[in-house]
């Protein structure tokens, strides 16, 4: 019989008050987090697959990656915005995913608190750093060997 078991649809959308685990005070955060995972996932498919294709498949693939390659990409606002969106969405999506996993496995309140504190601190550092790198990037730093720089830099 196991193979043909039918799963019945839940009969009621109403949750009896004794089973409602939290008051209205927590708001809809968990619902937004759930929705965010799905929406960001859809966008990340395009962003990450595009990133991997351009950096690994086109031309010489990984061999082409060096300072000049990055400078060439970030000279174009298109790739700046692309990388910025990918940075924020992937970090927030990944952080929320890891938060769920911590909630699942860390049973002690103290352990859960500290793991999440470390997680959020790491996320904040990486998002701020990654954003600064994109916007403060200098493709033609002074005193750098000219052969490492992109071709559009003025001759020293």
């Amino acid at each position: 019989m196991a193979a043909t078991t039918e799963i019945q649809a839940p009969r009621s959308g109403r949750i009896a008050p004794e089973y409602n685990r939290h008051g209205s005070s927590r708001g809809n955060f968990e619902m937004f987090a759930w929705l965010f995972m799905r929406v960001s996932g859809l966008v990340l498919v395009v962003l990450v697959f595009g990133h991997l294709f351009v950096n690994l498949m086109v031309g010489e693939g990984v061999h082409a990656i060096d300072f000049g390659f990055v400078a060439g990409k970030w000279a174009d606002p298109f790739w700046q915005v692309w990388d910025l969106a990918m940075l924020w969405l992937a970090m927030l999506h990944g952080t929320n995913g890891v938060r769920t996993i911590i909630n699942d496995y860390a049973e002690k309140d103290g352990t859960r608190f500290w793991l999440k504190a470390v997680l959020y601190a790491a996320t904040a550092v990486i998002i701020v750093l990654g954003t600064l790198v994109i916007f403060t990037f200098d493709p033609c730093p002074p005193n750098a060997a000219a052969d490492l720089l992109p071709s559009f830099c003025p001759a020293p």
């Binding site: 799963i7 690994l56 990984v62 060096d66 000049g68 990944g94 890891v98 790491a122 990486i126 790198v133």
Partner: protein, 127 residues
């Protein structure tokens, strides 16, 4: 008596294994991303610093690790789309197991050409 029931609808079947795979790949990609943003940040230190570190990545072992990373993200992405279909498409829950076979099929279709191209580039071309 054992507390774990044998032969439930979920345990040990497609639904459980796809969830395990989704979780493991998600965490792996997350830790990769932390390191990845740090190494990319070397472009702000100096062109030399960035190139030195990136060049140490250009070897056969790293090429295999990159292939593993891409395998993980392609699975996570396609299975994520499956999860979205299960949640939002009326027939999604009914077809969740078949959808997993679709995910695996698409994964093979993407990974085979990717591996051919990536490993050819990594093991033959370049400097």
């Amino acid at each position: 008596m054992s507390k774990t029931p044998a032969g439930t609808l979920y345990r040990g079947r497609e639904g459980m294994w796809s969830w395990v795979g989704h979780r493991v790949t998600g965490v792996a990609i997350f830790f990769f991303l932390l390191v990845h943003v740090l190494d990319t940040a070397l472009v702000r230190v100096s062109p030399e610093a960035y190139n030195v570190v990136i060049n140490t990545y250009k070897n056969p072992i790293m090429a295999l690790l990159e292939a593993g990373l891409v395998a993980a993200i392609v699975f996570h992405a396609f299975n994520g789309l499956r999860v979205i279909l299960v949640d939002f498409w009326k027939k999604g829950p009914k077809y969740q197991a078949k959808l997993l076979w679709g995910v695996i099929g698409l994964w093979v279709v993407v990974m085979v050409p990717f591996l051919i191209r990536h490993l050819t580039l990594a093991f033959t071309g370049g400097h």
